[in-house]
Amino acid sequence: MPKTFWTLPFSALCALWCSESCADDSYRAQMKGLDEQVQEIKSDVLSIDAELRRLEEKLLYPSNTHVALFIALAKGDSMRLDAVQIQLDGKLAAHYIYNFKELEALQKGGVQRVYTGNIPTGAHRLEVSVIGKVEGGKDYAHTESFSIDKGIEPKLVGITLAGPGSSKAIDVAAW
């Protein structure tokens, strides 16, 4: 085997890298043009989305009957939320099982819209059931009932969940 063989790999590496770089140059300009177009499309889609959202809200959830329920986790709480079930006036409104990414998003302070619907003005009964695990892996389940008042304006209800160690395991507040 000639000695040139084992010096080849380094030069081959450089050659490979160079060829990639040359290929980069040839398609970079094309990619850039396409990138601009993609950005424009994204911008248009966001604009359509905004208009569509307004239309949907007006059509499907008029303000006098609009109700939306949001789930948040209490800051710093260590409970691992598995699922939430919500009944509105005795009827199942939402039953949600969380995956790891969703749970992590909640733990970082994100808020999940778990239900959007319509209810008439007046008082309504809200029942929230939580299933999860506390530190040490022990199962945890808790259910609580609340009353919410629906006025003529849209009703946004924040449901903050915490583990058993907290003074309020489930806190419901109008926003």
Binding site: M1, F5, W6, P9, F10, A12, L16, W17, S19, E20, S21, A23, D24, Y27, R28, Q30, M31, L34, D35, E36, Q37, V38, Q39, I41, K42, S43, D44, V45, L46, I48, D49, A50, E51, L52, R53, L55, E56, K58, L59, P62, N64, T65, A68, F70, A72, K75, K101, E102, E104, A105, K108, G109, G110, V111, Q112, R113, T121, I152, L156, W175
Partner: protein, 637 residues
Amino acid sequence: MRTLLNTIVGAGLAAMLAAHRAYGGDLRDLHFGEAQYYAHQGQYLEALERLDAELGQYHDLDEPQLDTLHFHIGEAEFSVGDFELNYRMHHRAGRAIKAVLESNVDEAVRNEAAFRLARIHFQKDQLEEALHALDRISGRIPDGIKNEIEFLRANVYLASGRPGDAVSVLKRLQGAAGLTGFAEYNLGIALLQDKRAGDAIDQLDRAGKIKVDAEASRIKPDAEASRAIRDKSNLILGDLLFESKEFDRAQLSFDRVRLTGPFSNQALLRAGWSAMSAEKYDRAVVPWSMLVDRDVTDGAVQEALLALPYAYGKLNVHGRAALLYGRALETFSKERVRVDASIESIRAGKFLKALVREEIRQDKDWVIRLRTLPEAPETFYLASLMSSHDFQTALQNYLDLEDVRRKLETWQNSFTAFEDVIERRRGNYEPLLPEIDAKFRELDSQIRLRQQQRANIERRLHGMLTMPRPDHLATADERIVRERLNAIERALKAQPGPEVEPLQRRVERLNGFLIWNLRTQYDERLTQAYKDLEALNADIANMTARYDSFVRARQAAMHSYVGYDVPITRLRQRVSDELREVAQVMARQGRVLEIVAITELGQRRDRLESYESQARYAVADSYDRATRAQADVGARQ
């Protein structure tokens, strides 16, 4: 070389900066929290949809300070730029951040905005603009970004061909929290670019020995990135030492690279070559033996398949060398067939289909997973290509377009459902409304009459407070009695005579009794009248509430099916136009990706062919040598 440095530095910087977030405080606005919920999951389009809408509403308000978003407005304005940046909308992200920069905001906020703007310019290779944005930073700087600003400045210098300036900045950042490994590595690169090879080697040596374990428990992804950059330092250092013919030191440096990290294969390969260069063939066998059992699609592994028998040849173990060359030949041949199949598969459009497979994209390491996808041979050889920045951007754009296309298709289908809902509502309400409206008009006139009557009573009662009118508080019986007495009085006046006089006196007495009652009971009656008015007010309020509720329900009924035709038609047209545009751009983007992938695979195929021919020659050569060696042994015996 400069492009390589930019790529290395840029990748490092992007990894460092991606982790940065400026959230804090308690949440006061649910919609902002909802946008964050999606952003934390990497769903930036969904996050933008929500935050854009919320910010739009906020800015349209007459008194935005009363809105709950007001508590987060600075953070929201930043976040929208962040989300846009993460969703690869650099133009809008730049505009959003510039808007913050030019508004009347706190010095610290403005400085953070300038930093983020500089970061965008840097990522887009707009180095002068990046420096200009960095120069705008002055005064109070948030603690969390002080080091990052300087790190960015150094990288901009480095990318602008000003390594001397970069060195000065990076020297101050040695050991800075959150930059472990990166500041040290980049200083080494800056010194190298500044043609101070000796200093660069010393610096990379330091960078290659940095301890990151202490951070591991605190911020795991950062620690992993620090370990990876430490490996990279050792790899570059090893290369420099190899080029300086310091083979032993080079090998030590390659040995420091972790066996499980992303640079492990290259380190093993180069460690072997260092040993070979030092003519320590037995030591080259160790890393290469390890390497040949790894994933055969990796370029370093393929090279090792040839290098290992070469080392055995040098050790005069020609029989083993011949066997290993045979194995290499077989592997290269098999791999070449696979690469050919991959190229064909890409030409058949399967590559793009594999890229958009949902189950793959659920995983953050989906690019790596693509290699193990059983039905996608076209992706086996593309991992290194896929990890390049430009290809990633193009690929992400393609995937974003696919997401957008799906979204638009869903919207397109929803319009029919909307129209169905509207038609059903129209069918329900339209026959009912004329009758309801007729009844309502009737009730409405009665309601107005009663309201007028109540208003009259109230006015009279108010008048009686200043000018008492007892007669106004007479009961119905009293009014009848008074009418009758008046009638009798008029009749008596019409028949004068002595017998009428006693009757007139009786009428006067009765009138006097009536007036007495009205005057003496006046206060009591007035109080009672007010109480009755209050009770009436409650009834009127109840009636007004029902009236308003009816009017709202009537309006809601009308609004539930009237006024949607124009917006739906317009939106349908917009969605349809956008779908067409997406299809065109997607096809072009996909074509570019396919061409690049095929070009890459073609290069890999050429290499495999070259390896194959070298292996074919080497097999024969090794068998010859083995046979000769055996013959020599036989002859000696």
